[in-house]
Symmetry: C2
Subunit: 339 residues, 2 copies
DNA sequence: CCTAAAATTGGGAGCGCTCCCAATTTATTT
DNA sequence: AAATAAATTGGGAGCGCTCCCAATTTTAGG
């Protein structure tokens, strides 16, 4: 029961200056047609009275929330915080607020979050889906209502809207080729859930690199998993104990790669001597672990900025002029000691 | 220019059912005094027409934004994301939205962000200040306007409001005592800016531990720095090259400790054999680096939950009943290989 | 000095909803 | 069946602001 002391409104300012609220509104919104003297008087009084505009009223009147939403699967790895930071920066420049929601990799939560965004009348959303998301009705609603939506990282294939991704295929290809060129013969791949396009693309990059170098793909060495921490140990141990174990592991992402390294070490094997490991994303941690992780770096900042720009492009234009570009950004292989 | 297709309002529902908007409003807000049949008819139609309530209008009418703000210095280390995740969870349970803003350790930005929160009429804020924040007028405004505010981690001493902190003194004391008990004689301390209470408290804990064990504090071994990455190398190198160098370093936080380890290693010295290192916070990274970092763990989840609860306590009560508890949570020393 | 044009201001409806109070309908009691 | 109480509904003002259109004032032109 927040007892708000009566707030100062434009009407108060108007009364005090003996002018109309319309005029006050004009100067406060930076409208040009107002006498310089009047403008000054209003501004001075607003300053003096510590007037604070009520965005909620403005939003209602203008039918714009000046808020964008970000829906992401998690915030605890370093990839998303960096992207978010970049998005927020762009949003601030445009004078927009940002509502962030984590889905915690849960489809249900993602649906709820989308609903909340809708309730709050966001002017646009930037989303990266959960590993569980197979149905996209909750996101198509935005399209249907004419609310701009932009995907990044984990995108929805069946929706034709702007997207920002990296060249996962090429990134994976480069990483695996690097392993091959450094003499690895049996390269395993810890893949992600096949529902995610990034999983498939990285897997394809992996397969293509093998093929190019005439190494037959061994199904035994390809494991698709659902990002659950507990499972990694099982899979890595399984790989290690094969009669013909891998001499390298290419992991779908850095957290997986890092855990993989821990488990390999726990088994008394050495990285990279016995098994080389390569990850994807260049998390903040990756340079710090022992051995430092070879990984495919993503331009996180650029991803965030691009996504935000694509969104604001739409927000500013009439929906009839919307384009649906898919920006594919370049990755960069960072070779460290783990390979 | 988002072309919003005319949205369905409670008035539309009312007209369709031939009842008044008041009644529709009643059922939609869960008001009890409404005939069950009517309730059902309204709910069914709302469902059928995919009615979506307009939170902005509700906010204006009720004078409540149902939004809380979080102001933090940064989001890129793992401490804050964890705390935020916990706060968001609590907020969701209470039906509140969350606006997050990073100050990037800049006072200016913090002031701007506070203003944005005010513009958006947040019902409360949870804040952790930047290292630069010495003036608190921008935060006192919340108090003045009767908007609940709760501090955590980096708190403002001159404001009497609820706070959530950990026992920094004791945490530091325990960490340093641990170093002493494991035989270290010359323990340096990389402290934070003295403007932050946590810096002072951790420093005091450090000093107290030395005192207890009759080790004279050597000013040469105590360095206060401003969290700037570049400086760490300078300071650590300086310490190493003293005629009488330290055999242990207690760092104000984990990022500092981690960088310290890197620099020590770069100098050809071993951790912990030559110099032991202890950090503070138990960042996600800390267990993964080589050697794994001994650190003082903070109950991040509990911190977030507690802060949120303290905030909602106030939001729900009249300001006359506000209490100003300072919750001091326990830390836990996690001993790993770096000491 | 009068008139037309330009600049500036005011009035008022409207954004979608809540909530108080009064009106109406239904149920209860004697 | 009348009178009263309880349940349900409707009306309308108000939240703080924007923005269109009309009114007023100022400036320019002849």
């Amino acid at each position: 029961m927040t007892m708000k002391n009566h707030q100062i409104t434009i009407f108060d300012l108007a009364r005090e200056l003996n002018i109309s609220k319309s005029t006050v509104s004009r100067v406060l919104t930076g409208h040009p047609n107002v006498h310089p003297d009047t403008r000054k008087r209003v501004l001075d009084l607003a300053e003096k009275l510590d007037y604070q505009r009520n965005m909620i009223a403005i939003q209602l009147a203008t039918q714009q929330s000046r808020t964008i939403g970000i829906i992401i699967p998690e915030i605890l790895s370093s990839y998303f915080p960096y992207v978010i930071a970049a998005i927020q920066e762009e949003a601030r420049n445009e004078g927009y607020n940002v509502i962030i929601s984590q889905s915690n990799e849960s489809y249900e939560t993602e649906v709820t979050n989308a609903k909340v965004m809708l309730d709050n009348r966001v002017d646009g959303v930037i989303v990266s889906i959960t590993k569980e998301t197979l149905n996209f009705d909750h996101l198509k609603v935005f399209q249907k209502k004419g609310i701009p939506i932009v995907f990044f990282n984990r995108v929805c294939n069946e929706m034709v809207v702007p997207k920002v991704i990296v060249d996962d295929y090429e990134g994976a290809f480069g990483a695996v080729e690097h392993l091959i060129l450094s003499g690895r013969k049996r390269i395993a791949h810890l893949s992600g859930p096949s529902s995610l396009a990034i999983s498939v693309k990285r897997l394809n990059g992996y397969l293509a690199a093998l093929k190019k170098h005439n190494i037959p793909a061994d199904p035994e060495l390809i494991i698709s998993y659902d990002f659950s921490k507990e499972k990694i140990a099982i899979y890595v141990n399984h790989l290690i104990n094969l009669k013909n174990p891998p001499d390298a592991i290419f992991a779908i992402n850095d957290p997986t790669a890092i855990d993989t390294i821990q488990i390999i070490k726990k088994n008394g094997l050495r990285v990279p001597e016995d098994i080389a490991v390569v990850g994807f994303s260049d998390d903040y941690v990756s340079a710090l672990i022992e051995p430092p992780l070879t990984t495919v770096a993503q331009p996180v900042r650029e991803i965030g900025i691009t996504a935000a720009q694509l969104l604001f492009d739409q927000i500013k234009k009439d929906s009839s002029q919307w384009k649906t570009p898919v920006k594919v950004l370049k990755t960069k292989l960072i070779i460290r000691k783990s390979s």
